[in-house]
Amino acid sequence: MTEQLLLYPLLFQLLLAILLMFFWTKINVQKVISIVGGFVAVFLSGLLFYEVWTSGTQTVQAASWKAPFGITFVADTLAATLVLLTAISGLAVSFFSSASVIPARLRFGYFPIYHFLLLGLTGAFLTGDIFNLYVWFEIIIISSFVLITLGGEKAQIEGAVKYFTLNILASIIFLTAIAVLYGLAGSLNMADLSVLVPKLENRGLVEVAAILFLVGFGIKSAVFPLYFWLPASYHTPPSAVSAIFGGLLTKVGVYALIRIFSLIFTNDVFLGQILLVIAILTLFSGGVGALVQKNIKKIFSYLIICHIGFMIGGLAMFTKVALVGTIFYLIHDIVLKTNLFMISGLIYRIKGTSNVKLLGDLYDQYPKLSLLMFIPFLSLIGIPPFSGFWPKISLLTAALNTDNYVLLALIIVASLLTLIVIAKLWSEVFWKKGAVLEPRPHFLYFEKMTKAKKVQFILPIVMLAGVTLYIGFGAEHIQQVSERIASELMNKQQYIDAVMPQTE
């Protein structure tokens, strides 16, 4: 039964979702199943990671159809790492949802849909088939549509419409790209494509397919000219939903970009240049956008965009050092962004507003909590030895080595912008004397909660802050993982051999 270890995290999420559907109306049972299931999912993903780490890339040919005809599931180190991070963030958000999402929302199947979302994410990381990747993306966006509209407030619906429209557009473009590629190469298996595509005669059409992929995934991962849906929608759903969206949904787009451009469309100077320009503009516009926002969640939304730029920048340079930076940043960013949105939810619960202008003296009231929140903030800025610092070293080294001085400058500028944004946030929300707010009726304030509920609120934040600290102080381990992933990405032959052993 160990041969199919790589499917267990995937199947387990499906099992959880089905199990949760049986308890549709019993919210308290759902909470328990979701949290306990989260622990098991972390354990299974950990096992998978250990297996991949010790004995190399794992593959399963679903339904025993041999690649390139069937659908292959592949767990290389990158996929296994991301599955593990999904499980960790998923567990934290399960915890946080059980305390922070109001029962009126939970009653309409919040938890089952949430686990379908995690299923989609896990599947997208593990699949080795490009059409299957599309299917997982569909599962992700359909579940995210439900999660973002659940509750049906006016602002929420408005955000959801924008989110819908652009994500469906992205899916259509992605599907078109697959169709073009399939028409050209006659295969959908990514390993097979990576052998076939470089041999194709019609380079112009290959380029077109590549650009279509870039646009499709670009919308999903919110890069420069395509990001407008993100700040317009991410602040509207409950914080728990924003947390999983902010932590993982854009990152799955980045993952797809990394996969496609390291495996299928490699050594393409034109694409590299485009990615470089996109990265530079994303870094700049995200950072500047964050400066002028007044809503905490909107600030964090713009910071997501800004920091996507780091990862795209590393991918654009496509040297080993640059990829190490990209992967390290990806690992650090998933945990951090999930945590940031949970923090924004906690602040909202304490004060009853997310408006920076109205918030204040949080440090005075909750000094210990404020210090806890300080850890992710420091990591976000990248003060050594916190986690944001280490990937930036790799990225800066790579930019110097490849003479990309504009990107080098923008990485520094974006870091500075992040610093300014967070410094402003800290002084406004934590130090400033806040406005006196009218207590809202029918609003459960944090101080009035029971002790158990308070723990449920704070524990996931502590947990992810702990993971962030580990990424920062145990950077050596994460660096090793990133280096191994980067060398696997640079040497695509090992991926091909793992999927199709008979090609030698």
Binding site: M1, E3, Q4, L11, A17, F22, V60, Q61
Partner: protein, 137 residues
């Protein structure tokens, strides 16, 4: 829409359509058809019944909320997929055939149960959607 003709006809059409949906479901293994279409036809049978006799009567006929069919169908499909993993350590969704044919029915395989799962899920989803819409209308 309480016309006598429709009401009388729908009482006969319900079992016929249900049988037809099962025929389509089983036919789908090699020929056009399958769980999805079969499920749609089965739900059409109930929708027609609801048109003729009113939603309340159809609900009484069904005895449980159609939403319940969704997790049931999903579990059937899930079990058919996981069976080869648990029993023989074959990859997920590998189709297993029975060694000996059952009289009249013939050889069964796990793909059939996957299709039955789809059949149930489609019914659950369609009926939930239609019932919800006609309740709120």
């Amino acid at each position: 829409m309480k016309t006598l003709i429709l009401r009388t006809a729908s009482n006969y059409l319900l079992p016929i359509l249900l049988l037809f949906s099962i025929f389509i479901l089983l036919r789908g293994h090699y020929l056009p058809g399958g769980g999805f279409v079969g499920g749609l036809i089965a739900s059409i049978a109930f929708v027609l019944h609801a048109f003729a006799n009113g939603l309340k009567n159809t609900k009484r006929l069904l005895k449980f909320h159609p939403g319940f069919l969704m997790p049931v169908g999903l579990s059937v499909a899930f079990l058919s997929g996981i069976l080869p993993v648990l029993a023989l350590d074959e990859p997920f969704m590998t189709s297993l055939w029975m060694h000996h044919a059952i009289p009249v029915i013939g050889k069964l395989n796990t793909a059939l149960f996957f299709d039955i799962g789809v059949y149930i899920v489609v019914q659950g989803v369609t009926l939930t959607i239609i019932f919800t819409i006609s309740e709120s209308a």
